[in-house]
């Protein structure tokens, strides 16, 4: 890894001002890292070096001047295409840019390129991209996780210091875990979803990949805040997240979820218990709490996320933008454009969601899942009254091999069991590297916190990072 990766973002600007680093240092390091491994990793769907140079040259002289950001290709920008990893968006050009990207550009950062993802962010391995899979830079035989696998791989391979992804059920935290990175999912409403192509609107949130907690805090501080173009974005003031890191965890209490522990086996369980013992040894107050519905998280999520997806993805109709199949009638145009343009996983989810909302099944599936979600929210809120943070492993296992779960949708969904609860409850969560497995693959610890407690969560994350690092 090149030496720039060791420079915290907050110091990059200082070094440029002091003259010890050139503003284009990261741009050139990105291109060198891309030359070294992109042909194997395939992190980017769109990577136009001339366009990246042009965006860098035009970038604002702000605190992030010279910082390249890799962006998941379901977050729109006017410059270049947005594919969502799907054939159905062939030829689509966004007429506006996402608020999160506009804010990064205002702060001086520039968009390096658009990264690969499971089609419409539906997947946990980035194997469901219409443009081919991304590979894990730490072991190319393994998946980088998903759905934001391209963004995770780009940061893990040193192609960018930070990246944006989207997290609907763990799509930032799970790939961060598989690639040995920090992954941040903010509170629902903390970051504007304007320009994030909708999957499940009550769960979607833009998140951050970084090499260290402090860098994630810097980026969150830039992209967070109310946006008149997203009425669900919160009016809560945006604190100085980066400054909060210094506050530590004095007097804070952590909770381990008993039901999560029961789902862990073998090395995963042993290593999680060791991590908890290490944190205890370093002075953390840790107790056990319960979230009885946790083992049902994936079942609840499968119904609700896909019900919302079936409605959101109705917009891809072959009429207003994207791929259009030739047809004699309007009905045939819809059927053929969507039939040809959407991949098997997206179709499966639209079908599941449509079924759960259809006459005769609405109450037995959607209604029941909504009530279970409400129960889970209450259980998590009650646990977070007893303790300040909840700790789980980010994933039940380390990065799996390409092809290992592609023919077993349910096994793929179950990899999200620890990340889905934070989306269902709308709370912030942070994945932090927690050593390596016997096979040498990254392990990861997840910290969840109360809504809008990102300051405290990042401070705790910084402390945990220091203890486990």
């Amino acid at each position: 890894m090149h030496e720039l990766a060791a420079v915290p973002l907050a110091q990059f600007r200082e070094r440029i001002v002091a003259g010890s680093l050139a503003p284009e240092a990261w741009l050139e390091a990105s291109f060198a890292a891309i030359d070294a491994s992109e042909s194997e990793v395939y992190a980017f769907i769109e990577l136009d070096r001339a366009a990246a140079r042009r965006r860098f040259a035009a970038s604002a002289r702000g605190p992030l001047h010279g910082v390249p950001v890799a962006v998941k290709d379901n977050i729109v920008h006017r410059d270049g295409a947005t594919t969502c990893g799907s054939r159905i968006l062939e030829g689509f050009r966004s007429p506006y840019e996402a608020t999160a990207l506009r804010r990064l550009e205002t702060a001086g950062a520039f968009i390096l390129g658009k990264t690969n993802l499971d089609e419409f962010a539906m997947g946990s391995s980035t194997e469901h991209s219409a443009f081919g899979p991304t590979r894990n830079p730490l072991d190319p035989e393994r998946v980088p996780g998903g759905s934001s696998g391209g963004s995770a791989a780009a940061v893990a391979a040193g192609m960018a210091p930070v990246a944006l992804g989207s997290d609907t059920g763990g799509s930032v935290r799970q790939p961060a875990a598989f690639c040995g990175l920090v992954g941040l999912k903010p509170t629902w409403g903390r970051v504007s979803r304007r320009g994030l192509v909708a999957f499940a609107s009550s769960l979607d949130q833009i998140g951050v990949f970084a090499r260290r907690v402090a860098d994630a805090a810097v980026i969150l501080g830039v992209i967070a805040g109310h946006d008149p173009n997203d009425s669900t974005s919160s009016l809560e003031p945006v604190p100085d997240y980066a400054a909060a890191l210094a506050s530590g965890v004095g007097g804070k209490r952590f909770g381990i979820i008993a039901e999560a522990l029961e789902l862990l086996e073998g090395e995963a369980r042993r290593r999680f218990e060791e991590t908890i013992a290490t944190l205890r040894g370093a002075g953390a107050e840790i107790e056990t709490v319960t979230v009885a519905t946790l083992p049902h998280a994936v079942a609840i999520y499968s119904i609700l996320a896909n019900a919302e997806a079936s409605a959101n993805l109705a917009r891809f109709d072959g009429i207003r933008y994207g791929r259009c199949a030739g047809a004699e009638t309007l009905e045939q145009l819809w059927l053929a454009s969507r039939g040809e343009g959407l991949g098997p996983e997206v179709k499966r989810r639209i079908m599941l969601g449509t079924f759960a909302l259809s006459a005769g099944y609405l109450e037995a599936y959607y209604g029941r899942a909504q009530r279970a979600r409400a129960t889970m929210r209450r259980e998590i809120a009650a646990a977070l009254e007893r303790v300040d943070f909840l700790l789980t492993p980010t994933t039940p296992s380390t990065a799996f091999r390409l092809g290992e779960k592609i023919d077993d949708p349910l096994a793929m969904y179950l990899t999200d069991v620890f990340t889905v609860p934070a989306n269902l409850a709308g709370i912030p969560a942070l994945a932090i590297p927690a050593g390596r497995s016997e096979e040498g693959l990254p392990l990861s610890l997840q910290i969840m916190a109360r809504p809008f407690a990102e300051e405290e969560m990042l401070a705790a994350g910084g402390w945990v990072e220091g203890v486990l690092g």
């Binding site: 007429p95 079942a299 109705a314 933008y321 259009c324 009638t329 039939g339 259809s358 009530r371 349910l410």
Partner: protein, 93 residues
């Protein structure tokens, strides 16, 4: 157990064309996922109602610019006289 006929009906509602092989695999895979989510039937039914969506801040009710027709047209597969063009809606079958 979900049947191929039900899958055909759902695909029609979802406006998805499925080939014979897709129909077969979709029936099998959906059956398995639905069997898995049926675990929710065993949850305590006394567990209270769905929560209302949280209140969202609304912007002032003032007119602002929306996309101009030329921008919309640039993305449309077929566009004429300020409108999207589609095949005939009635007839055919």
């Amino acid at each position: 157990m979900i049947t191929p006929d039900q899958i055909r009906r759902i695909a029609s509602l979802a406006k998805l064309e499925l080939g014979p092989e897709e129909l077969e695999s979709m029936t099998r895979e959906l059956a398995r996922v639905l069997d898995y989510v049926d675990q929710l039937a065993g949850l305590d039914p006394g567990t209270a109602a769905e929560e209302p969506a949280p209140a969202t801040p609304l912007r002032d009710d003032v007119i602002s610019r929306s996309l101009d027709p030329a921008t919309v047209e640039a993305n449309a597969p077929a566009f004429a006289h300020g409108h999207f063009v589609v095949p005939r809606v009635f007839g055919g079958e």
